[in-house]
């Protein structure tokens, strides 16, 4: 049984179909990269998995348990599925420590001391310990995005969804964020990332899915997708990426 199984899901915004009959599976300790042109449905797929968007059709299973549709405890689900956004979305009125401890205290019901201990351990591990008392707007984009990852990790999720987490960053800040993801991949964290960082996707992924028009057009190990894509549109996409020297 697959860890996450997505069966024939569809999602449209009004008349605009974004995801059309998409199916895929994610195994435990997999790092799956979602690549593809803008508007191909990568972000929407991640938002559907964490229930921020309701799907119109199909189903999503985790450990064989259906997590979509009516009656699902969406708050419980989100405890175990973390997501990090392109725009960081830190809470600007709270310090870094406040951001990281809010959900563990209010949702997991940890004591404040326990939550802070857990938060400080994570912040220390990712080189952010000295920023614990800082407010987000006084930090660089790279630091904010690292805090956002720590905030998601503080919930001890089973899987982490990363939605183009380096797209809003200045080029010199990208590597500090990617290093964390690399680190988590080595540790065996199950991750699903929508990304435009092709070189990185190739390096860390166990599987790469090329999305096109709201469905998986081609999937396979990174070597296959980037070096020997089987289907035409994948080839065109990879060629244009190579022409832009982004791989």
């Amino acid at each position: 049984m697959a860890f996450i199984e997505i069966r024939d899901i569809s999602k449209s915004y009004g008349d605009l179909p974004v995801i059309e009959r998409l199916s895929m599976t994610v195994e435990e300790h997999d790092v799956v990269s979602l690549i593809g042109p803008s508007g191909s449905g990568k972000s929407t797929l991640l938002r559907c998995i964490t229930g921020l968007e309701a799907i119109d059709d199909g189903e999503i299973l985790v450990h064989g348990d259906r997590i979509t549709g009516a009656g699902v405890d969406i708050n419980a689900l989100r405890r175990d599925i973390g997501i990090v956004f392109q725009g960081y979305n830190l809470f600007p009125h709270m310090t870094v420590l406040g951001n990281v401890t809010l959900a563990p205290v209010k949702v997991l019901k940890l004591s404040k001391a326990a939550a802070e201990e857990r938060a400080m351990a994570l912040l220390t591990r990712f080189g952010l310990a000295d920023k614990a008392r800082e407010y987000p707007d006084r930090m660089s984009g790279g630091q904010q995005q690292r805090v956002a990852i720590v905030r998601a990790l503080a919930m001890d999720p089973m899987v982490l969804l990363l939605d183009e987490i380096t797209s809003a960053l200045d080029p010199e800040l990208v590597s500090e964020v990617l290093n964390i993801v690399r680190n988590l991949a080595e540790e065996g964290m199950t991750m699903l990332l929508a990304t435009h960082e092709m070189g990185f996707a190739r390096e860390v992924s166990s599987k790469v899915c090329f999305l096109c028009d709201g469905a998986i057009y081609e999937e396979g190990p990174p070597g296959q997708i980037f070096d020997a894509p089987a289907r035409e549109r994948t080839r065109a996409f990879v060629r244009s990426i190579r022409d832009a020297r982004r791989i």
């Binding site: 921020l52 708050n75 973390g82 725009g87 979305n89 809470f91 809010l102 949702v107 707007d137 905030r151």
Partner: protein, 377 residues
Amino acid sequence: MGANRASSEVADASGSARRLNIGGMPSAPTMLLLTALALAILVEAASLYTIAVMRAALLQGGFSSGFVSAASVLLALISVLIALPLIRAFLGWRDVRRAVARGDVVAARVTGSGARGQGWIVIGYGFAQVLAVLAGQFLLANNQAVTKTFFFVPLMAETFPLVLKAFWINVEIFTVTEILVLIWGLVVALAMLAPGAAGKPLRIIAAAYVDVFRAIPAVLVIYLVGFGVPLTGVPILKDLSLTAFVVVALTLTVGAYVAEIYRAGIQSVHWSQTAAARSLGLSYMQSLRFVILPQGIRQIIPPLLNAFIALQKDTALVSVVGVVDSFNQSMLIATNHYNLSAVTSVAVLFIVITIPQSRFVAKMMQRDRARLQGGGA
């Protein structure tokens, strides 16, 4: 190819084909300075005349002649200050002429700009002085009738304790109302934003309440509640004091505005904040309480304080149902003495409490703007 073209263009530019044209030798701003001079002479004449009339009136009013003369001389000196920029303007004008004679374009531009600036200062301050003279003449008109009607100091001094005591009623009413409105407005705002199909009736009722009470003039609500509820004889309600009725009436009216302010503040928080909060497993209410409201409240403090300032002034409306607030008290005094100076005292009291708050709000908004511009995303 491209490089060749670029370099030939550079050669053209440094050659004789095109020259920078920002005007030749400037002329002295003679017309402007003559206008400024004429205005200054007129204003000064009017000022001195007004000061003379004021002096006569004050002497007649029994003020000591030493004090009156000193005050008149001081005012006259202040009125003459307009000559300073005028003199600077004419000195500048002379420098322009000299620079032009020397053929020094740059110096002529610099001095000309300075002279023109001083000329405009004379005109700007001159007009302000005209307004001051007109105001002074209005106060002195008809043997100082205006002054005696609105600013009769002996009566103001005599009745001030009474007015101040009544003003305390206004303070009481608006303080209690502000506290109630803070709570009531939030309740209504949350009802306006009640989620889902279950929340729909609540949303409709809240929206209807806000629309209705923003449509009815506050004075009508006060009148209806203040006179109407005792007439209905509804148990408990009918036994409340008149002050309690007007507090309820004002809370209903201002609460509608404040609910809108809260709602706007809550909705001004970007949806991505809700997405982040919910994706961490926080419930709707938890997201609202820990993430959305704290950010929304910061945004609404300036409009909230503005609503409070308006409320404070609206407390003068409670006189329609017979609450003896400062306005009502001053009207009684006005009737007894056939003089409005006590009402002026009330106006002064409102000014004294309102202006610091307005300034505070303005400062706060300025700070928020600066932070927004500095903060970027």
